[in-house]
């Protein structure tokens, strides 16, 4: 109680949002100790896990996301809104406390809110509520995804578009042959041979060409032309001729 009220008062008086968030974390821890003092240890642990662990960290995360240096403007758009709000909230608090002071509730015997007892109530009497809450959590997650989803800035570039644009600028529509294709050599630095047996210079990687690590394949062409049927060298013959 001594911890919770001053920490939550920072909600009204602290200037920076991060300070507010950290003091609300303190207030949540104070509330968790209050739950444990009220014989509800399960809820105390859940309070710490859910509120200080998940909810307030998400608040801090969003604060970092939108920028912590956003100052509040103190200009009032509704005249006297601050005083109306303070009087209204204070009046609400005084009203609630006066109502509480007039009731007297007899204290019954202690029932510890242990996890097994809570689970007994939760999954027998309130099992339908539990399932509805599961659906609510899933729809909340989907809603958050939809809400923060950005429409794409430019239309999606499909493979068909890429191929069409490549044909449009006059590039060769078929794939380049792999190095070593139709060749008698199985290495990346040897150019592929076309059906006439001439080396295709494009089939060797540009990097190897820059480094002068390629072979031109001329010696392999010479071996092909030595065959007795030089105009149609097929791949099986080339492989066998090794």
């Amino acid at each position: 109680m001594l911890l919770t009220v001053p920490a939550s008062l920072s909600l009204l008086f602290a200037k920076k949002s991060v300070h507010v968030a950290m003091s609300i974390v303190t207030a949540m821890v104070g509330l968790a100790t209050a739950y444990i003092a009220l014989d509800a240890p399960f809820l105390g642990v859940v309070q710490i896990v859910v509120y200080t662990g998940a909810v307030m960290m998400m608040f801090v995360f969003v604060l970092m996301l939108v920028g912590v240096d956003h100052r509040e403007d103190l200009k009032e758009t509704i005249k006297g809104q601050r005083w109306i709000a303070i009087v209204g909230a204070g009046g609400l608090g005084i009203f609630l406390m006066s109502v509480i002071s007039r009731v007297s509730l007899p204290l019954s015997e202690r029932v510890m809110g242990d996890p097994d007892l809570i689970a007994g109530v939760l999954f027998s009497k309130y099992v339908l509520v539990m399932e509805v809450l599961g659906a609510l959590l899933i729809s909340a997650a989907i809603g958050a995804l939809v809400m923060t989803h950005l429409p794409p800035l430019r239309p999606r570039h499909t493979q068909k578009d890429i191929a069409a644009s490549r044909v449009k600028i006059g590039a060769d529509p078929v794939n380049r042959p792999m190095p070593g294709y139709y060749a008698r050599h199985n290495a990346l630095d040897v150019p592929a041979l076309d059906p006439e047996g001439n080396p295709i210079a494009d089939s060797v990687s540009r990097v190897l060409k820059v480094r002068n690590q390629t072979q031109d394949g001329v010696e392999f062409r010479a071996q092909l032309e030595d065959k007795e049927n030089p105009e149609l060298p097929d791949s099986s013959e080339v492989e066998r001729g090794e």
Partner: protein, 99 residues
Amino acid sequence: MDPINFVYLAAILFAIGSAAVLTRRNAIVAFMGVELMLNAANLALVTFSRIHGELDGQVMAFFVMVVAAAEVVVGLAIIVAVFRTRQSISLDEPAELRG
């Protein structure tokens, strides 16, 4: 300590949270005020559960926590979406849309 004192604490926290919602301009801080009000209601539920000696109040407080977690997810997503379009999370500026 008499558990009724925790009901007083819940009333005070609820008043502080509502004052924060009414006065603060920063959307995130106002949202934290909503969270504090939800927690005050939770504290009242748990206290009455202790006073009556039944577990239903604690189960209700557990449900409120789950709903509050879902609400935080959607609310913060709305804040992020508003910040993306308006570059501001002030609660006064959407009121200027009236023109």
